[in-house]
């Protein structure tokens, strides 16, 4: 059977791939007629073509497929079953599939044809826009730009325009942005985010017309309210219109407002002609999202193969879930189910707004508050996979719990028909059966067996919940509980604290735990609060959460004294500073030792001596080395290209830069790093949590190495990076680790437990697969901006100094139980207090 596909966009491409994948007998010969000069590419990611120079091309079809590009179909002769192209080719078909897509809608306003006016749909559009903006920067520097349309595509275009260096305005006729997906509150929150990026939004304001300047090109956009915007470039992105002109011309029925009329098998009135994607009108509706378009392609592929084999097919396109989650200019935006249902439809809504964090959440539920109808998430869409899955089903807890992720604890209650993985169309029941029948035990097995979670990954947490629920039901223990006070894992607590903006342990345990905590959960929460930037670790209630090291900002040793470690970034220190350390050690009688991290540890300080020791050190320009914290310790370095005959980069400068950037960053466990100036690797960077090795062209980054008890060579993550990229990757690595690791889990075992390992990590950090990068970057920027030396701040605060006493009723009396004996000209502790009992390790 001869199949001709008109249009080689994403939908046409998907159709051909589906046919080729399932056509075991070679029953279909396929010709594709494409209008654009290039084969199909990922239009959804168009903007990244501009910003990241991404290669958007879809994989090429196999050699059996005939692909004509740059030669549009211009006529269909239904009687002769033949398509004619612009170049005069005549191509016969047995089955014809129209996948002609849509065209941007340009409203009939004055000036729409002026030079400087564009649409935003194809790579060619983007190239023209880029050329124009470059010319504009030269001829009219500072000229602004206007995007007409504040919907999904309009905002993508606005981002592109801003990335091209144009001061961008967005004009939207509706009262708020993304009116098709968001309610007013969500639109308003999105607007705040977008305005924070420097764009200006004119919502509820129709455009009146475009005016030309002296050069004949567009110069001003007039709005209906009488105001005007100076603009050297205008992009129309105010909706789409189906490309139905071929169908229209050959007499096929089309909708009143466009779209080729098809039945639920995507067949037109002519049984030999089908239409899929944005050009098709199914049940009165045109679909503009990629997922339903792909579903149509699959349905038609099914029918064509059945027809070619002389059979029939029952495949039907039954509407589509229009839920969508995307990242717009770094802002998470999601809409699911029916977010607009109101009291007239028997629905209630619950909203949550956090203007500081820029988060807006709305859930629409049935009027008994049990069934989820739909919702909107802006600023934080982490609950999206779960919530989307629950649309139409009864929520396992209260809507409030659902809003804040409490539903994620469920999973066992999800209705079987719920589609968990929309990328691969896998239902909850399919996953459950696979777990039960095939005896699956971990996430990797479930992914491999069902394909759920193996594409975009957004449903993975939900798949994990299903797995846990099944295993629990089967009597197999799965406990993520941190301790008896919290049923959550550290990573879950991190998200709860982050999303709910919790700043105190008391609130966290009252709302999400029980009892009054312990030496396990308190330091974990203290660390989470510190990672999220809640001021000094000894401020207010936080102080009570710290273990003794953090509480006294020093490391407790076996006799109850403390050691002091000033920061020596990169291991570089002046003679004067070395002398100060020596004098302090001598004056306070401390034992000194060079550490493995290229600094100096001073042992044997009593609690009440710590402030006096630090006063001297701070005066000399030292700051806390955080040797006591679960935080960055040191960034070790070799001497590098400055002195070394073999060095190719300045490893000392880079080590100092990294150490100063990440100093004070609280993490699930301590962090170590090193920078080597050449491949000889003298700094031993491959045994560190993050190690950097210089190359002729830049830096190689190694992640998740470890020395210590279980040595692990770090994995090469990326090669030949420039300074800025190197730092961004490390930023993201650290923040992602901090968010997701378990308590006391070093990066090495964290990476080993990460499904997909280093490749997955690369996707998250380099390709931004989870859409998290902007958030991770912002979190690290907050850390860097918020850093202050803990010891200096403590010395300046009498309230914090109160704790540094030996005895509450005799502050200046040294602890009489502390004693030393000389050894090799230094002190050595002697325990005088009594016998030591056998320690049973917990």
């Amino acid at each position: 059977m001869k199949v001709v596909v008109v249009g080689h966009g994403p939908t046409g491409h998907r159709l051909v791939e589906a046919l080729r994948a399932r056509d075991d007998t070679g029953s279909c010969r396929i010709t594709v007629i494409g209008e654009e000069t290039r084969p199909a590419y990922d239009r959804v990611a168009l903007t990244s073509y501009l910003t990241e120079d991404a290669d958007l091309a879809y994989p090429a079809h196999d050699g059996e497929v005939e692909l004509l590009t740059g030669d549009p179909a211009v006529e269909i002769d239904r009687a002769a079953r033949m398509v004619r192209t612009g170049s005069g080719r005549e191509i016969a078909y047995d089955a014809l599939v129209l996948a002609t897509g849509s065209a941007p809608f340009v409203p009939p306003v004055e000036g729409r044809d002026l030079p400087g006016v564009f649409v935003y749909r194809t790579i060619d559009d983007l190239e023209s826009l880029r050329r124009h903006c470059a010319a504009l920067a030269a001829s009219r520097p500072g000229a602004g730009g206007v995007v007409v349309g504040g919907g999904l595509l309009g905002l993508e275009a606005a981002r592109a325009l801003q990335d091209l260096g144009v001061d961008t305005h967005v004009v939207e006729v509706a009262p708020w942005l993304m009116p098709r997906q968001l309610d007013e509150g969500g639109g308003a929150m999105l607007r705040r985010h977008i305005e924070a990026l420097g764009m200006r939004v004119h919502a509820g304001t129709p455009m009146a017309g475009l005016e030309a300047g002296g050069d004949g090109a567009v110069a001003r956009v007039a709005l209906a309210d009488g105001s005007a915007i100076d603009a050297g470039v205008v992009v129309f992105s105010a909706g789409i219109r189906p490309r139905d002109e071929l169908a229209r011309a050959c007499g096929l029925p089309v909708g009143e407002r466009g779209g080729i009329v098809v039945d639920d098998a995507c067949r037109t009135a002519d049984p030999a002609i089908w239409a899929v994607g944005e050009c098709a009108l199914v049940d009165g509706q045109v679909y503009g999202l990629v997922a339903p378009c792909f579903s149509m392609a699959e349905v038609v592929a099914d029918h064509l193969l059945a027809t070619a084999g002389g059979a029939g097919s029952g495949a039907r396109f039954e509407g589509a879930d229009l839920s969508t989650k995307l990242k717009l200019m770094g802002v998470d935006v999601a809409s699911f189910g029916d977010p607009f249902a109101g009291p007239d439809q028997g629905a209630l809504d619950i909203t949550y707004t956090d203007p500081v964090a820029g988060v807006y959440k709305k859930l629409v539920v049935s009027d008994d508050a049990r069934t989820l109808v739909g919702g909107v998430l802006v600023g934080d869409a982490s609950a999206y996979p779960t919530l989307r899955a629950y649309v139409g089903a009864e929520l396992p807890g209260s809507p409030e719990q659902a809003l804040f992720g409490g539903t994620e604890a469920a999973g066992g209650d999800l209705p079987g028909a719920t589609v968990i993985c929309s990328c691969n169309n896998v239902s909850a029941e399919t996953i459950r059966c696979a777990i039960r029948d095939d005896g699956l035990r971990d996430l990797a097995e479930v992914k491999g067996c069902t394909r759920a979670g193996s594409t975009c990954g957004s449903c993975v947490p939900l798949v994990k919940k299903l797995l846990d629920a099944e295993l629990t039901a089967a009597g197999i223990e799965v406990s993520r509980a941190l301790c008896e006070h919290f049923d959550h894992s550290r990573a879950e607590l991190f998200d709860i604290v982050r999303v709910r903006g919790i700043t105190s342990f008391t609130r966290l345990i009252e709302e999400h735990g029980r009892g009054r905590g312990c030496d396990i959960c308190k330091p974990v929460v203290a660390s989470i609060l510190a990672s999220l930037g809640n001021g000094h670790i000894l401020d207010g209630e936080q102080a009570a959460l710290q273990d003794t090291n953090d509480h006294f900002l020093a490391n407790m040793q076996k006799n109850g004294t403390y050691s002091v470690v000033p920061r020596i970034p990169g291991g570089e220190i002046t003679p004067d500073k070395l002398i100060v350390i020596g004098e302090v050690a001598r004056d306070f009688g401390l034992y000194t030792k060079i550490t493995g991290g290229q600094r100096i540890d001073l042992f044997g300080a009593r609690v009440e001596q710590l402030p006096e020791i630090w006063r001297r050190l701070v005066e000399a320009g030292f700051e806390s080395g955080h040797a006591y914290g679960k935080s960055l310790r040191t960034v070790k370095s070799c001497v590098g290209s400055t002195w070394c005959r073999y060095g190719v980069q300045d490893s000392v400068a880079m080590a100092i830069r990294l150490e100063l950037r990440y100093r004070g960053l609280r993490a699930p466990h301590k962090l170590k790093s090193a920078v080597s100036g050449c491949a000889r690797e003298c700094a031993e960077a491959q045994s560190k949590d993050f190690g950097v090795i210089a190359t002729e062209k830049g830096w190689n980054l190694y992640l998740a190495g470890n020395g210590g008890m279980r040595p692990r060579h770090a994995d090469l993550f990326a090669s030949d990076l420039d300074d800025e990229t190197l730092i961004r990757y490390i930023d993201r690595f650290l923040m992602f680790y901090i968010r997701t690791a378990d308590r006391l889990q070093r990066t090495a075992s964290w990476l080993e437990s990460l499904e997909g390992g280093i490749d997955y990590l690369r996707e998250v950090i380099v390709d931004d697969r989870l859409g998290l990068c902007a958030e991770l970057d912002a979190a690290m920027d907050r850390h860097v901006d918020g850093y202050a030396d803990e010891w200096r701040a403590t010395l300046e605060d009498p309230d914090k100094l109160r704790r540094f006493v030996s005895f509450v009723n005799a502050p200046d009396t040294p602890d009489p139980s502390i004693a030393f004996t000389p050894e090799r000209e230094q002190i050595k502790p002697v325990l005088v207090a009594g016998p030591r009992l056998e320690v049973t390790t917990r």
Partner: protein, 131 residues
């Protein structure tokens, strides 16, 4: 807020003897959910103020490490019991009885402690009441 009275486990005083209270500090000198050490007649006493405001006094010597550090442990609860964890090797002790919950054969001495009307904190040492 209540004032906690505890019975010393190492009590060697004859029954019926009234304790002699020793002033330690002002109540607000104690940080909530944290301990402090008091030197009372040469004995190191770890004094704790819980989240609820209850007071407890235990020996400061950690029997597992031999170091005087119990007052620097983290307070919390286990089951319903108020606890302190040794900062050295993390064994958990019941603040009310001094019993080590991870090793019930081991106990810290406990001492009577009270909060006065003038908001002072006082502890009593059993040894002082020997005849």
């Amino acid at each position: 807020m209540t004032t906690q009275m505890t019975t010393p486990t190492l009590d060697q005083r004859p029954a019926g003897t009234a304790p002699v209270w020793r002033d330690v500090c002002h109540y607000t000198d104690l940080i909530p959910e944290r301990g402090a050490c008091a030197l009372v007649a040469g004995v190191q006493v770890a004094v704790f103020r819980t989240f609820e405001g209850d007071l407890y006094a235990l020996g400061n010597l950690d029997p597992f490490s031999g170091a005087q550090v119990i007052s620097r442990g983290i307070l919390g609860t286990r089951g319903g019991a108020p606890t302190v964890a040794s900062p050295m090797y993390k064994q958990v002790f019941d603040l009310r009885t001094g019993v080590c919950l991870d090793d019930p054969g081991v106990a810290l001495p406990t001492f009577p402690i009270r909060r006065t009307a003038e908001d002072r904190v006082e502890v009593a040492l059993p040894d002082e009441h020997r005849p």
